[in-house]
Amino acid sequence: MTTRLDNRKVDELRKIKIELGVSKNAEGSCYLEWGKNIVIATVNGPKPVFPRHLADPQKAVVDYKYRMACFSVSERKSPVPGKRDKEISLVSGNALESAIMVEQFPNTLIDVNVLILSADAGTRVAALTAASLAAADAGLPMRGMISAVAAGRANEQLVLDLTKDEEDTADAVDMACAFLMPQKEIVLLQMDGFVKKEDCSKILENALIGAEKIYDIQKKALLEKYPLEGEIQL
């Protein structure tokens, strides 16, 4: 087994750092570093829906906006959201919605914003992981957490959490995957590659293993914000 370009093991995640409640004005927020990715997510709501006709009398509507800062990628990106941003926003919003008990808030809006400040592959899964933390931070009723990770193949190895360099290799396969945890139900699944069925199943299994690691990291971050012992802190 050859080592990866950044010396990680095949099933090793990049370093993740989380800070909750970073936004003073938002009801829930999460700052997340994942390898060289930096994202900030905020969640507000339930709020009224404008225009009114977009409201759903059965449940809250989740409006998920995935945006990349102009300087987040190699070549400066236009500030106007493109098709990729809109597609990611749509599938991610659907994924997050499965975690939130939206039936409790008919005719309202859950406003989710994620800004990618620095990108190095896996931005959509980092964004969704952060957004789920922000929703929990906001105290929204949720049936679970959304834990997202990318799995795939690079340099003839099946690996977890690909970097940009790994995504650019000749035989790369990149699968973005998000699970509702602890139920282990798939809420987001997108793949680019050229891969045999058996390897594909293996990659999906690897993704679940990765998602479980992410779920542990998320739980730890939420618990750390509320220590039961110790001095009172301002």
Binding site: D137, A138, G139, M142, R143, M145, Y226, L228
Partner: protein
């Protein structure tokens, strides 16, 4: 008998025993799970979770504080910290209200729209916004925490169930600091004593 206090995350398994269900709990395949990030409250036959944050859900009879957001020809648009504002007709009041006016009222009904009754205009004071889930902590059992705040900071305080706090105080900065301490440490035990000690230390 209370089990040890712990924080639970959304979707976390609490127990597979049968118990009476309180707030923020859901059942899946005969097991009981937490439906929010909060403090677990579990006894031998009852389970609920106290959320650590979250939107205000108006209930009939709630005493709340509102702010006049807008004045129209026929009435007032009042912000009560829910996802929709309240409308109150001018015809039901003897006094005129102005934009920014702070008032105390009760929730009369909370179906598709929220209606208020018993509107009382509050005199000029300060307004502080907290999450509605923290209000019980700020009031305390039998108003114990609220009295400690009033007495040790020389303040007149009114707490709305919706998370607005109106006050007039000789020590506004001290009061707001104390309230922030309660909010940021609401999950800790013995908080009432800790806050009382903190205030006495600063005063003395």
């Amino acid at each position: 008998m209370n089990t040890t206090k712990r924080i639970v995350t959304p979707g976390e398994l609490i127990t597979d025993k049968r118990k009476k269900l309180g707030d923020h709990i859901y059942i899946r395949e005969n097991k009981i799970y937490s439906g929010v990030l909060g403090i677990l409250n579990e006894t031998d036959d009852y389970v609920s979770v106290v959320a650590l944050n979250g939107p205000y859900l108006p209930r009939i009879g709630d005493g709340i504080i509102g702010v006049v957001k807008n004045v129209t020809q026929v009435g007032y648009v009042i912000d009560i910290k829910t996802n929709q504002d309240c409308f109150f007709p001018k015809s039901l009041l003897t006094k005129e209200l102005v934009k920014g006016q702070v008032l105390f009222a009760r929730i009369k009904s909370a179906d598709d729209s929220v209606d208020l009754e018993n509107i009382n205009i509050l005199p000029k004071g300060n307004l502080l916004s907290v999450s509605s889930v923290k209000v019980p902590r700020i009031i305390g059992k039998n108003e114990s925490m609220l009295n400690i705040l009033k007495n040790n900071t020389d303040s007149n305080i009114l707490v709305g169930k919706n998370g607005w706090i109106w006050y007039v105080s000789k020590n506004p900065a001290l009061l707001e600091n104390a309230i922030n301490l309660i909010i940021n440490n609401s999950q800790k035990s013995n908080l009432t004593n800790t806050i009382e000690e903190y205030l006495k230390k600063i005063k003395g």
